[in-house]
């Protein structure tokens, strides 16, 4: 695509969901007739509905908005600022000097149908608002903090840490230390993608989109990592369809405590945009199992927000989809939560 085409698409996408006041014509007529003065309009449509469409609209519009309204959309807030449960292990990242709580997206590796895929969690880390420090904190957390969900893992061998991060011309250079050992070749590629997706996601969340990342090891470039992955140049995100999990629960996150009525945010790329959301109680008994339509189907990713009301207790919420081929259950992502 030419830059002009990219722009046209982005402009179109960015305005597709713009709502207008239902009574706008009446407002204009009243003002023309001198019956009314200008009324301050504050669009709340984005933050009130909690539907899949609103979630998508919020994502687009919030990206557009010069400043985010306060309070932010619950749809977005759940996945960013107010991530439900700070990790018990998400203490200050190794090299954080000062700084404050930051919520950053961190990718981990899970397995679907025997194939490694990326899942994302939002982690609370210590850092500064500066994008390079946020990247440092995000990568440090990825390397050092176990994922909240025990079904996920980091593909990076223990002992690796971040020496430094820079961002120049839309490319972040991440200098790692202590990267040793070997990684299964099948997982090595995903390890690099785990880092690239984390780095670019942290930056994108801070409105500093990156085109990719470079890796340094104790300050030096390497041609390949673990003898399996070329890491010599600028590393970019591989296609979401081949790297990201088909379905995941954005929130509540694993281990979260939520009020009796809460919203489950789902994200996925599945056939006909249809996922299922199941709730089990502490004993494994089925509480509910419903079909949910995401805002978009494969190959695109779609989102949905489902409001659940549950009595206090411990539950497992599980998102999955049914195979188009044989109706079997696929791609399950489950989180244990507590309803207070």
């Amino acid at each position: 695509m030419t830059p002009e085409e990219v722009l046209r698409e982005a402009f179109e996408a960015g305005t597709r969901q713009v709502p207008v006041a239902p009574d706008a014509l009446r407002l204009i007529r009243d003002r023309v007739a001198g019956r009314a003065r200008r009324r301050r309009l504050r669009v709340v449509a984005f933050v009130s509905t909690g539907t899949a469409i609103a979630a998508t609209a919020a994502a687009v519009v919030f990206a557009l908005a010069g400043r985010a309204p306060a309070p932010p959309s619950p749809d977005v807030a759940n996945s960013t600022s107010s991530s439900p449960s700070p990790s018990p292990s998400a203490g200050p990242s190794p090299s954080a000097a000062g700084g404050h709580d930051l919520t950053v997206p961190v990718y981990y590796v899970g397995t679907v149908a025997g194939r490694p895929v990326l899942y994302r969690e939002y982690r609370t880390v210590q850092g500064n608002d500066d994008v390079t420090d946020a990247i440092r904190a995000g990568v440090a957390s990825m390397l050092a903090d176990p994922p909240l969900d025990p079904d996920y893992t980091s593909a990076w061998p223990a002992g690796a840490s971040v020496r430094g991060v820079t961002v120049v011309d839309g490319v972040s250079t991440v200098d790692l230390s202590g990267v040793q050992g070997t990684v299964d070749p099948a997982l090595a590629q995903m390890a690099v993608q785990q880092l690239v997706w984390t780095v670019t996601a942290v930056a994108a969340d801070r409105h500093a989109p990156l085109t990719g990342a470079r890796l340094r090891f104790d300050g030096a470039a390497r041609a390949s990592l673990w003898g399996a992955v070329d890491v010599s140049g600028v590393l970019v995100r591989a296609a979401a369809s081949s790297t990201q999990a088909p379905v995941w629960i954005i929130s509540p996150q694993q281990g979260a405590t939520v009020p009796g009525t809460f919203t489950v945010q789902l994200d996925g790329s599945v056939f006909e945009a249809t996922v299922r959301l199941r709730v089990r109680d502490q004993t494994g008994g089925l509480v509910s199992d419903q079909q949910v339509l995401l805002s978009g189907g494969a190959p695109a990713r779609g989102q949905a927000a489902v409001t659940l009301t549950l009595p206090p207790g411990h539950y497992a919420i599980e998102a999955y989809y049914l195979s188009a081929k044989d109706g079997s259950e696929q791609g399950l992502d489950g989180h244990a939560i507590t309803v207070r």
């Binding site: 722009l7 204009i28 997206p105 695109a300």
Partner: protein, 193 residues
Amino acid sequence: MAAGSVSDVWGGRTVTGSPAAESTVHMGWSADEAVTRLFATQYRPMVRLAVLLLHDPGQAEEVVQDAFVALHARWPRLRDPDRAVGYLRQSVLNRSRSALRHRSVVERFLGRSGAPAVQPSAEAGALVAETQAEVLAAVRTLPARQREALVLRFYVDLSEAQTAETMGVSAGAVKSHTSRALAALRRLLSVPS
């Protein structure tokens, strides 16, 4: 713009209809009628235009409503839907500029940067939406005139001459704003091969 066609700023598509019918019907419109009819075809596209310029849907609607109120007063001198659309667009652009100036003053006064305190998650959407959000975020970082040129050229689909007229600058300035903006976007967004 061809006489008798009402340009629809939404994607630059032209609302086709019989040119003869268009040009005969509107001549007798009262100002009230003009506002009502133009509202039907132009309100939403103008709000979308203002959203791209202002990045604030609520403020975008205010600006567009102001423009329609002004159009009502202006109609006796316009008396032509095409000219009225041009007037609305110019009005939206000028009012958006004022709103942005006001916003930057307020933000300076409050001692904060334009960056939102709570960052939206560009991660929330599909990959394609994410990329588009990145493009829009990059557009936001451009100087105002460059952003205006891009939006008018590639969203509203105006020619260089029409863009120049709307922005109140020369066609040469539009050309240079556009090429600088595209160069900056290429730097910001290009994926190295």
